[in-house]
Each structure stands twice: as C-alpha cells, then as structure tokens.
Symmetry: C2
Subunit: 340 residues, 2 copies
C-alpha cells in the first residue's frame, strides 16, 4: 500500500541505493538527482519503514521502560513526569519508547527476558533500584544497555542518575530544626528501595549533627501511597509526645499526612509542619502548598534517556553516574514549632 524505497527509485529513475543515500545523506549525490529523488519522495508521500531499517541495522531506535508497579503505586504522578522526560528526550533523537507492564501472574524477570531477547529495544531504563536488584544483575549479565534511575546499594557498577536523597532529607531536616522543631517524625519508604536507606540516613545524620536523639518510635514505614501517610500520622498522634513536624519520604505520603492532620483539626504549617519529597505537581497545588525536596523528575527522565541513547550509540557518556543535588522547596506546610 504505502510507498517503498523501490517505488521512489522507479519514479525518480534511479537505484534504491541512491534514494537511500538521499534520504540519509550518508553519501554524496549530485544536485540534479537529489532534486528528482526528493520530488518523487514528496509526490509519493514516502516515509521510511522503520522496521526494515531496524532489521538491517540491528538497531530499533527504541528505548524500553518496564513499569515497576510493584513498588510505585499506579496513582503516583511521579511516573508520567518521568515518562514525559524520557519521551521528549527520546523523540529529540528520533527514538521511540516502548512501555511494558508486568501482567498479573507474570514474573518481572520473564518480562525482562522477553523484551531483551526479542530485540525490540536497544536499551532499557530501570527505575526505583532495589537492594539486590535482580533486574540489574540480569541486564549486566546479558550485556544489555541500560541506565537506572536510582543508584546501586550493593557495590555494583552501572550507569545511573540519582538524586542525593540523604542530602535532601538532611536539608529538609535542617529547615525543620531551624524552625524550632525537636520531635520530628519520619515516614520512610519501603526498605527494599535503595533510596529509602539514603533518605533515612539523612534523617539520622541531621539528628546527630544537631545533638538530637533518634527515637525509633518516630520512624515508621509507609507504602508510598497517600493512605500510607495517613496511617503514619494516626500512629504518631496516638503517642504520648507526638512530633511537631513530620517528614514523609514522598509527596503522596505527605499529602496523606496533611489530610490526617486536618481531620484531627490541626492547621498544617502552624500546629504541625509537614514535609514531602519529590516535588510532584501535587505538591505545589496542595493546600496548604507542600514544603518538599525537589527531585527534578522530568529532567532526570531526559538525562537517563540521553545517557542511554549515548551508550546505545557506542559513545560512553561523559558522566556515567550522575548524582543531582536536591533542592529545598519551602512552601506553606511548614512553620515555626508551636510554642516557639
């Protein structure tokens, strides 16, 4: 149905090779023939068949991303922002993005195998690295190009982009402490995630550096969802000496904390301070607007995609392991500790 190289060649009265050269600009072609070829291309509305091109070149010009649904909630706005970054960078280089999910009942491993072995993508993006991450050992073993969002926790060496979560939480804690808070609750991420440890370290370090004690009762593990945060605050409020500020490991959980606080009649930012982590769009638009630690997720998506494309094209990226500094976003959900 659609026009092929051959059709164009016939119409222009040249060989398919010449057409190919014109299309790709890889070889000199005389201006006259180039003219004729371009005219034929236009008149036939020819577009190259990417599939054939891939087969020939053994490249697919496609990046793959397998949603790690086990970790992040579907409702997490995080991913679309990440995807948007990846997608925009990919299209800049004429790459496409292949998304797969883990179907119910299937193992994550089997999905990775399918994608890798079927040669559908040139490289993969792995998000939310975990301790003893099976995905990473598999890809490394296969020698398959990939870049991770999230660094390694076990001494493996692979290309990644990450945000310095420890520093981020540390900064946030300094902010809270400078506001006079002394009892600060922390809602941690699932411990399987590498970033959970880093962020928790930031919490502990900040306590230590400020001469504050670490109370295990002030740390609880959330499940990354809004209700995780909600339940966490309920727990804190049930204690004899509830915290005056709560640091949640993600914005979504922070929103849950805010909701719970409001339901208990507390005014967030005055009676209790709440901080998040991520700075998703939700944070700026929540009420009160959420003080949080900014992870430039869109930019990370772009970075990761760019690095992956470089690796695919054989050019070792300048920086194989990027750690971005986090940025404090002070908004209205935090304020002076009550009674100060």
């Amino acid at each position: 149905m659609a026009a092929t190289l051959k059709d164009v060649a016939r119409l222009a009265g040249v060989s398919t090779a010449t057409v190919s050269y014109v299309v790709n600009g890889t070889v000199r072609v005389s201006p006259q023939t180039r003219e004729r070829v371009l005219a034929a291309i236009k008149s036939l509305d020819y577009h190259p068949n990417v599939i054939a091109r891939s087969l020939q070149g053994n490249r697919t010009s496609t990046l793959g991303f397998i949603l790690p649904f086990k970790e992040r909630q579907v409702s997490d706005p995080f991913f679309l922002e990440f995807l948007a970054g990846i997608g925009d960078e990919a299209t800049r280089y004429n790459f496409d993005l292949l998304i797969s999910t883990i179907p119910q009942g299937a193992s994550e491993r089997s999905v990775y195998e399918r994608v890798v072995k079927s040669r559908r993508v040139d490289g993969l993006i792995v998000a939310d690295t975990r301790h003893n991450d099976e995905r990473i050992t598999y890809l490394t073993r296969q020698g398959f190009p990939f870049v991770a969002f999230g660094r390694d926790g076990d001494g493996l060496d692979f290309p990644y982009v990450d945000v310095d979560g420890q520093e981020g939480v540390y900064l946030g804690m300094q902010h809270l402490i400078s506001l006079g808070h002394r009892r600060i609750g922390y809602v941690s991420l699932p411990p399987s995630l590498v970033c959970a440890s880093h962020r928790l370290n930031g919490y502990k370090k900040a306590l230590r550096d400020n001469g504050l004690d670490y109370h295990p009762s002030l740390v609880t593990v959330g499940d990354l969802s809004q209700s995780g945060g909600y339940r966490a605050l309920e727990g804190f409020l049930g204690q004899l000496q509830p915290p005056t500020a709560v640091f949640a490991g993600s914005d979504l959980m922070a929103l849950g904390v805010i909701n719970a606080a409001q339901e208990h009649g507390l005014v967030v930012g005055r009676d209790i301070s709440v901080m998040g982590f991520d700075d998703t769009q939700l944070a700026a638009h929540s009420h009160p607007p959420l003080t949080t630690v900014r992870q430039p997720v869109y930019r990370i998506g772009k970075l990761v995609a760019g690095m992956l494309i470089q690796i695919i094209q054989g050019a070792e990226p300048k920086e194989r392991q990027v750690i971005l500094p986090p940025e404090l976003q002070i908004r209205e959900s935090t304020g002076p500790a009550p009674g100060k």
Copy 2:
C-alpha cells in the same frame, strides 16, 4: 551475537523453514525433528527476532498511544491506570505498547504522521476525544486502525469505548438532590473535550427533571487540575448565595474543591458536599473519601486495547462502539444539605 533461526537450523540439522514451523506451530512437524529443534532452541537460548518477523509479516504487534498532554495534566493519575489496562491487555496478546509524547514545539499532527507513516505500530489508541478532532479525521482518512476512549461529537463513525458521562452526572445529581441540595455548583471540563458537553448535559437534565433552575453563575470551567477546582470553589464562595454542594467534572478538581473548602473552615460532607468524576485511586484515599462517579479506566484500557487488536487482526469486533454505564461511588464527601 544472539542465536538466529539459521543457527538453530544448523544445530538441529534441518532447514530454517522447519524451525519456523516448530516455533510457530503452523505446520505439522514429526515428533522426532520437533524434539531436536526444541533441544537446539533451548541449548542456544533462541528467541525470535520480532523485528524480522514484523518486516516479513508487515505487522509489528505493537499498539501506539500518543499522550494528549495538551488536555490532561501530567499529574493526572488517570493515564497510568489507563496505560496499565492497555498494557495488560496488550501483553495478553503478545502486543507491545509504543508511547510517544508531543515534544515541545512539535505539532500533535506531525507526531501522528510520523508514527503512522513509519509503520511502527499496527494501530493507535486515541484518548480524550475533542470536538472537530483532527487526530480522528487524519486517522480515518489514512485508513489507519484506531480505537478511541471517548465518543464522537460531530457525527463521525469510528470505534470507541466511552462512559455515559451524562448519565453519570445525572446519577450524581440525583444523589445530591435526594440529600436535599438545591443550589449545586458545577465545575466543568474544558469545552473542547467531547465528554465535557455530555457531563454538563447531565447536570442540566437533572436540574430540569427536578424542577430546579439553571443558574449560569453556578457553572464554571476548570482546567482539569487540582488548582482549577480550588479556584472554582473560591469563586462560588464569593457569591451571595453559595452552593451547598459542588460537582466537579473530575476527581482531581474535586480534590481542589475539598482543599479550598477545608481552608475556609468548612467540613466537607457536612457544611458542603463535594462530588467528583473518574474514581481514580486518589478518590478513595482522599480525606474525606470522595463520593464520585466511577469510570472503570483500567477496564476501559483493556477494552480499547482488545478492540484495537481485533481490528488489527481483521476481525471486526462484536461491539464497535461501547458505552459503559457509570457507577455511583458514594463515600463521605457528600451528606445532607445543611439545615435539612
């Protein structure tokens, strides 16, 4: 590097055709040779090259989806749920999902052209149909397979899945009216969306059927974001006779309404009732949990993908145009009108 059909054939001592037959099960092969071939496949860890297969068959076994970011906000949890549905159904049929975004500066049209003409996908999924939808006229003209989430507003005939938005809002309104509400605000979706009209119709019809007057001042247009809902309520509260209930055209906007209400010291569900539309995961976990109209987005994703795959495979789907009944999800954000 990786093993090909030829490698397997050589090792098993048969022709590539035989291996292909074994792999696809399309032609009888004697048990003995099948045995040998399977052994070779296993020992070489052979996986078919999907690219080559696609080239040959002129099919790519890939569904395409181009994010309509202009309409929905990136932060809308809606899409990941939709994507998950599409993805799961796609993998069920061994289809993959190719996602594209509209890069800054590019036109939506150019992206559609690129994807269609490059033969990367067998069909496209179009979400959030608009009035005079350029995407749909283009795809129809090209004879390119597609299925839409959202029906048509201008008398075009194409396959789609939609939820009966009019009925949905109507049901919700009945719920509010039965609770004694008489002044009900409505936060509408951007009018370019086909579904905006249907939902608004439901609002008007419910008023009419219940002998209530339609006050244009009680209808405002939101932008699908949380802050859209926030601003809408601010507007309503500034009126002499503010509504006792607000129906938002999407959950995200409803959350904004709730936030605004709480900031004004109103107890949602008692002082003011708030309804949403979508029933995304946010709805169930908001505080108070949001009464809303359920759109089974995950299921719609599966349906749309399933229909598209059928169309691609040449089998006209039984139902070309599916309109799903909405379902009322009564939670705690709605209650009796104050003073009743």
